[in-house]
Amino acid sequence: MTTLTIAYLTIRETQRRRILWIALALGLLFLFVFCLGFHYVYLDFERTWVGNEEAQLLASLLLAAGLYATNFIAIVISVVTSVTAVSAEVETHTVETLLTKPIRRWELVLGKWLGFAVMLLVYIVLLTGSILLFVYLRADYTVSNLLPGMMLMVMQGLLLLSLTIAGGTRLSSLANGVLAFMLYGVAFVGGWVEQIGAIVRNETAVDIGIVASLIMPSEILWKKALTLFQPAFTSSPMMAGPFTVASQPSDAMLVYAVLYMAGMVGFALWSFTRRDL
């Protein structure tokens, strides 16, 4: 019950402090730019009509680029909105009147996590769904595994959210932000190292990528999402260019990512309960 009160409070806060509205407005702007760009590039292609197969390939390439950008926005939103969630309450002393009430500390942390998780879920599904819908309406292109793919993109947001919530129980807002983005950077670079390693068949590079994914398993969720959306397309590096997935994340890695997230949430609840305020 307290957890739900805090979750509601968290959503209300992002709304009252205009974070929600700005994120939604700029999400719309992003969609507008993508749709406009997609429309004109596709129009050009339609005029020099070569065949249905090429048209579908172009649509899938543009869609992959759009999803890539969507994914990046989802990551930034996940970190930036939640990075102060716990630490700012401590830094501004607002936490003192909350935690002297008959509530448990973990309820506060879980409530915050839940509030942001709901908002991220809605935001990422709306943004991704809008892009997929537009591409379907404009180019009659449909992706495979719609829901599992979207859920993996949401999962990546939740993974970063769990990381910032966990960091916020011990670190200052700024240090927490640096930690989250740097860990994401490690995963990002690791993902590319693994990718290139897989293409040139360099096992050491692939191993480095795997280690990076163990440190921060965010990039593999995105890769898995993309391969679920476009299985045929993304498996061929020559066709798909930068949005290829040469090295498929294993199922074990997905399980690891889920455990990683659960571990982060668990650490956050434990860590905040132990902390002196």
Binding site: T2, R12, E13, E96, T97, L99, T100, K101, P102, I103
Partner: protein
């Protein structure tokens, strides 16, 4: 010590932050219905002590009982109100929403919240501000709404940390009235303040703390109040100063104006002192007794806890 049952009882509470000892040995007892002042210089460990009592900070050693429950107990917290020193709240909430949220956190149902909130807003003089966002509030108004928040649950103990720091004289009077009201209802008030005038007017008992230890606890209703005496005697001798110690403590001769200061345990010693001076052949020009203000006592106790030498 109050004959009433205890609401707060701490036994050798200690808090270390690494090598730094914030609270060395805090042992105190507060009775039900008491207004208890907690006084000490900056860095004495007052805020850390309060945070331990409220379960925000875990003691390194020692134990405490609040409302018959161990520290940090949730059932006890349901009966505690707290206005922190840094009264920062979620400023994007409206005053009514803010109280409603804190009522929910206290576990109050909708009816209880709806009944309590308008009364409390009226009590702290913010009845017409229900729909105002806290970010539009002045410092004093924030402190008032914070006070209302601390009273939402009809608390049995109210912890007030510097509750008048942001208030004008009218606001201070209001806080004093509220504290008197709480005392009248048999509630305990734990007041952390260094406005000694305020404390003197509101508290029943005060504890002086320094370096995380209770140096002394005194009752402000105690009729056995000590008196500070200023004497002007013709040609005071070292022998006179030595003899005066039989009447009181803190005897000293002011080099500045030649007057002798000493503290008597009770004003009933005054006639004896005057008679002795005259009988001993000293010419007495001036004998000026003054009740020790809380500030005098604060300086005597906190400024000098070794018990000898000049306090002022």
């Amino acid at each position: 010590m109050s004959a009433q049952p205890l609401t707060i009882h701490t036994m050798s509470l200690r808090k270390e932050f690494g090598a730094k000892v914030a609270v060395a040995d805090l042992s105190l007892q507060v009775g039900r219905g008491e207004v208890f002042g907690f006084l000490g210089p900056n860095g004495a460990g007052k805020t850390t002590s309060v945070k331990m009592l409220l379960g925000l900070t875990r003691p390194t050693a020692g134990t405490a009982v609040l409302l018959d429950k161990p520290l940090g107990d949730r059932q006890a917290r349901a009966k505690i109100g707290f206005l922190p020193e840094h009264f920062r709240f979620h400023e994007w909430l409206r005053a009514g929403e803010f109280l409603d949220l804190h009522g929910r956190l206290y576990g109050m149902n909708r009816e209880a919240r709806a009944a309590a909130i308008p009364d409390l807003l009226a009590l702290v003089g913010l009845a017409d501000r229900t729909a105002t966002k806290l970010q539009a509030f002045s410092k004093g108004m924030l402190q008032r709404i914070g006070l209302a928040q601390a009273l939402l649950n009809d608390p049995e103990i109210v912890f007030l940390d510097e509750p008048t720091s942001g208030l004008d004289p009218l606001g201070r009077l209001l806080v004093r009235d509220i504290i008197d009201g709480l005392r009248g209802e048999g509630r305990t008030v734990f007041l952390n303040s260094h406005l000694l005038g305020e404390v003197e007017k509101t508290c029943d008992r005060v504890a002086f703390i320094r370096d995380g230890r209770v140096l002394q606890t005194i009752s402000l209703h105690d009729p056995e109040e000590r008196v500070q005496v200023t004497l002007r005697v013709g040609s005071p001798t070292p022998q006179l100063l030595a003899d005066l110690t039989q009447f009181g403590e803190h005897v000293n001769l002011s080099r500045h104006n030649g007057r002798i200061h000493l503290t008597l345990a009770h004003e009933s010693r005054l006639p004896d002192l005057a008679a002795w001076l005259v009988q001993s052949g000293y010419s007495l020009y001036e004998l000026n007794p003054q009740r020790l203000s809380l500030e005098d006592r604060f300086l005597q106790i906190v400024g000098n806890d070794s018990g000898d030498g000049a306090a002022r």
